[in-house]
Assembly symmetry: none
Homo-oligomer: 211 residues x 4
DNA sequence: AATGAATGAGAGTTCATTCAT
DNA sequence: TATGAATGAACTCTCATTCAT
């Protein structure tokens, strides 16, 4: 069993290991990210690793939790400042993409977690969905989101949009500034607004118009 | 370099290996799925593996391509029979979820592919998106999909919805029949319809009405 | 799980590993006898070890059982040829000492087994005692061993004599021929004969004589 | 080089380490008894260990010597109070078994010492034998032990009896009070008495009587 | 006197791959 | 076509010991 560092020096070493791990995991994935590589990058001996983490998996879990905390903060801060729901969504997505660009580790590590640490993976998504769904329910009460929507399902769906669009336009082909192109962000906003926003006329009206 | 099997027996052995691999990969992930386990499950000797595949990675790529072909067929068959765009979407998603339930391998393997074989991963998503985006563009021309939508971005976004909803309601907590609950499917249809469907009145109209 | 070798070559390799292990264990003890050293001595690669044994401990257990079988055979063959109980004991002890001299592994490995594999240790002693106690009981029925003796306790006690005398005069300070000196063997025979042999007169007689 | 503790506090720490070591060695054996575990049990930091002992081996040697002193005292005190040789033997064995029950460490550590510290092992047995053999020689001069016995060989043999009987009935299957069952102790006394006690008539007499 | 961080060699074990049969 | 023996590099993790504080 490892324990929290008791000295400043220990705290520094532990932080160095976490930081190194983020990069190595992001670059190589869990399986290929050996403890040797992590300790080498952190500039400490192999044995030192086990002073602060019980195992490679232990470190992995901690890292996921850490990144989860950070991405949620980034998103909520961004959307909190927005005047209305639509711009809040837009800001939230932009923040998510920006975070992904800056910490590709998040994205890569999460997807790798399926077999590595299902519990960490669960925790990660559940936490994000929880906040997201709450926000949607609140917006429903304010009449900004269509009332017939199940906030939980919607939250998972929207998170999915962020995940794949992020993969495609941040991880695979990012633009110069490291975020998604404006055009893509606009489209996402359009889609999200259409998906959850209130409609002026009931669906039946459309049919009438169409005839 | 391996070559295609020259006899019926060889073809059978090769198929057995592919089948075994699908299960073993789905259960353990790429990293932990050893060649030994695959050959054991296929009932052949270790050396036999290299008669049909150059490497573990080679087999993996082939498997991804194979699954990709199958999932696309399942989805396109399902949506082809639908009378209009909305029910086509619903049918397509239902087919995707059903396929995921029956072949969790697809889902698991794909997500694991990030570090294993980025090229296979790319190919997989690109192929799905390609067909999907074409379908959306076609529907746009028929006036069934809002004209201001970029079919490419939309395709990625919708795929994301399928991916996370599938993870949540098929992989993590499937209902008795192995598919997603009707309620969830309804919600997904609602979201998708809202996201890509034509609106009766342009967004600005809403503002006008509101005043 | 390992399986029995299926070819002659495999059988040879396996035997080589066992033989190497006997020497390495005898020389270094279980803890310091690394798999590397064993495989080096056997002239095979490290990985080959695990083709035939599940673990270092597995090999250890097998070795103990193997040696146990051999030492019991050596002893029983030696004592079977003896005309009476006394010479049978003498022959049995001599055989035990000779075996110990030739296979110091037995002695060393057994004593080390206390923490390594208690089960193997138990098995070893139990098997020896079993045969020994049976022989004593049989001799009791023939009137060659005092009737008030519990063969089981006696067997453990005599085994103890062999163990420590063997340690002292075979392992620590063996004579030129590699066995215990005749003088020591004589003394052991004397002790054993006294311990288990019938007495002419009951103990009380001695007291009477003494007065 | 470590030096003797200069303060009362130091003496206490040292004693705590020794005590902890006895338990940890007894439980895990030398190889698996890590310095970490010993210091943890003693409630001191790892580094502190090397203030009092040069190495793990150093501590081991000291522990063996310490236990040796204690077991010899226990045995000699017990047998000193006995009125005659026979009861002295019985008392000595009883004391040995009792000590073994109370300090399984002695037994376990000694057997483990074969590869760890042959010198400590030698010293241990030699010291016990020395006293034992002297006692036997003295008893011979008083006519209580048969004169044709080599006290040295006899001492090793008797020690062997104690060792294996102790292993079987104290370590493996002790009775409620933690000693060997009375029956076993009786049998041991019988064996020992027969082995070293004077006989009324020479062995040849038995033959004559038999005719 | 005591601490706890740091070391780095070495342990057992796994595994993709090769090769002789 | 198929086998199973063999390889050896790489992995995670442990541990006795040192050292700065």
């Amino acid at each position: 069993m490892t324990s929290a560092p008791r000295t400043a020096r220990g705290a520094r070493t532990r932080a160095a290991l976490l930081e190194a791990a983020e990069h190595v995991f992001a670059e190589l994935g869990y399986a290929d990210a050996s403890v040797v590589r992590i300790t080498e990058r952190a500039g400490v001996a192999q044995g030192t690793f086990y002073l602060y983490f019980d195992s490679k998996l232990d470190l992995f879990d901690e890292l996921v939790d850490d990144l989860n905390r950070r991405v949620r903060r980034a998103m909520s801060e961004a959307s909190a400042a927005a005047p209305d729901r639509l711009s809040a969504e837009r800001a939230g997505f932009r923040a998510f993409f920006a975070f992904t660009a800056e910490h590709p580790a998040l994205y890569r590590i999460i997807r790798a977690a399926e077999f590595v640490s299902p519990r960490a993976l669960h925790r990660h998504y559940d936490r994000i969905v929880e906040g997201y769904a709450e926000g949607l329910a609140e917006a429903q009460r304010h009449g900004e989101v269509r009332p017939d929507l199940d906030p939980d399902v919607a939250a998972w769906a929207l998170m999915g949009i962020g995940e794949l669009v992020g993969m495609r336009w941040v991880l695979w082909e990012r633009d110069a500034e490291g975020g998604v192109p404006d055009h893509v962000l606009d489209q996402v906003a359009l889609l999200v607004d259409g998906a959850i926003g209130r409609r002026t006329a009931p669906a039946t009206t459309r049919e009438e118009n169409g005839s």
